[in-house]
Amino acid sequence: MTVEELFELHSEEQARLRRLENRIYCCTAAGCVSCGAEGLRSAIAAAIKAEGLEGRVEVCGSGCLGLCSKGPLVRSAADGALYGELPPEEGALLVRPNPIDRQRLAAKRLDTNAPFFARQLKIVLANSGQVDPERLADYIAAGGYQALAKAVTEMTPQEVIEEIKRSGLRGRGGAGYPTGLKWELVARQPSPVKYVVCNADEGDPGAFMDRSVLEGDPHRVLEGMAIAGYAVGAQQGYIYVRGEYGLAIQRLQTAIKQAEREKLLGNRVFETGFQFRVDLRIGAGAFVCGEETALIASIEGKRGQPRQRPPYPPESGLWEKPTLINNVETFANVPPIITEGGDWFASIGTETSKGTKVFALAGKIAHTGLIEVPMGTTLRTIVFEIGGGVPGGKFKAAQTGGPSGGCIPEQFLDVPVDYESLTNIGSMMGSGGLIVMDESSDMVDVARFFMEFCMDESCGKCIPCRAGTVQMHDILSRLTRGEGTAEDIRLLEELGALLRETSLCGLGQTAPNPVMSTLRYFRHEYEAKLASGGRQ
């Protein structure tokens, strides 16, 4: 495809969509699929046929529409209305509603002016729910692949890197390393062979942001990776995706095929000298493979065990070649930065954290689902305005950062959410899972739960983590059973410090975090459980 053809297709498809009387988008992300989205979609398709409206009304699948707790969700483009919990027979009414149908449908209509929708700002998820993830033309109509065209035909690799640096984008995989700097490190390596790897191993329990992006807008991630490939001088990309994410894998396979067919990936992209291919690698269920050096080992077909760093992957990664590893959401931010400019992106967010962050809201919260907010939004806004608060209970803590993060108590609800602030209060941004807990959650048990997770997932390569997580888990179990002593709490703190200081990789280094943060803010719960009588 040439750049002219891309723009032609863009306007043709837009015109085609405008000519349609209506297009009905059924959320076909995993959450809605498991509450009957497919049946709903076929009912709508059947109704279109029965009414003889083919070519005038269309039904299509879409990425996550956000409010997963109200699935299956449907959006009707003609009036922009969003419906939730729609049974197939009511979905069919959307095709040609009469006044009575309208009334029936109105009861299922969700208020898109409600804070859940209105307080969000969508960059990464801009296309999610607006395009059919299985159609390349949809993505192109939404402006897709224009950033790649601009990068390879109008910009030098160095200019692309400068733009990313100017944007202030930081890695969304957890650690928050500045993306532009990482790209520059890889670009500087003289090696003729380099790799770009997309980390889609999303292992944190309670996190499903990356999955939604891959399911809802797979081309966006491919485009981001291709731009990265151009900037750093790589010809090959890999997406390492969790084996459990069947739908995401299928959508990615489709997207890669489509992009290759249209020569948006492959040799001579946009008829320039730039070539880039993307292959999938399917994970096999090991949390530690999200760690970059373990991920590399796993792509090479080995046991996914981390190794000593340095050398860091930008110097020596996949097959000892310079390798750029970024998270799914990081790559998804790249195309809009190239189209809109780094300054635009940098105008959103806080001093040190730019842009938006996608969070997966879950737990004891009224609206579970996927949200995207500007960096610096307070937890109070996220939990109470967007999330609708804690149903029938009182907010106790929000857990962010999964097994590497911590529990944030009520007193910090007004802290702006960005990388630094969360670290300062003993938690971390992590990848974006946000679990709300109410009074019924026992914080010692929560700490035990995460420690059990780390214990199971420890790869066993280094002793502090392999043995330390078992010891800490034993102590926490003892405490939850009410058999612990004050000495146990002291020991927990000592072991925690040891793991943090001496473990080889991030898993062991951060495993004590949930314990440390609950000890810091909910120490009384530990003390109340001591065998010496603190218990009621």
Binding site: A30, G31, V33, S34, C35, C68, S69, G71, E202, G203, D204, P205, G206, A207, F208, R211, G243, E244, Y245, R281, I282, G283, A284, G285, A286, F287, S298, I299, E300, G301, K302, R303, G304, Q305, A360, A362, G363, K364, T368, G369, Q399, G402, G433, I435, M437, S441, F449, F453, E457, C459
Partner: protein
Amino acid sequence: MQDNRAKFLERAMSRHHYSGDALIEVLHTAQELYGYLTPELLKTIARKLRLPPSRVLGVATFYHFFSLAPKGEHSYTVCLGTACYVKGALGLLETLERRCAKAGSTSADGKVSVNTARCIGACGLAPAIIRDGEIVGRVTPEMLEAELSTLGIR
């Protein structure tokens, strides 16, 4: 049937040019075809990819996804992600373990395999399970009890 499976596996290996780097992909294919990985399969794969058998076994046992034992007729995987945990996943696991088998094993009659998963990403539907490959959300212990009874499990 038997021959076909061997042929498919052979094709998967040749597609990757019998490269040891493709071990995980090949194991994925083998498990898809045969349901689980037998010692004979592992040995064949090691020979064809020219890898030491210890490396193949090491990889097969490192990843949770690979199973070295046959699976039951039905499989139940309880999500133990944080959201499901907070919403009572342990009660579901307890029910399955009491009536069928311990997590990670198959009931003695070969009917049901019970497993746990770290997070299946269906947090909006917590607590969720995967039943025979399909995600089922908002499960209660009572629902499970009833379902197991219809499967004829006491």
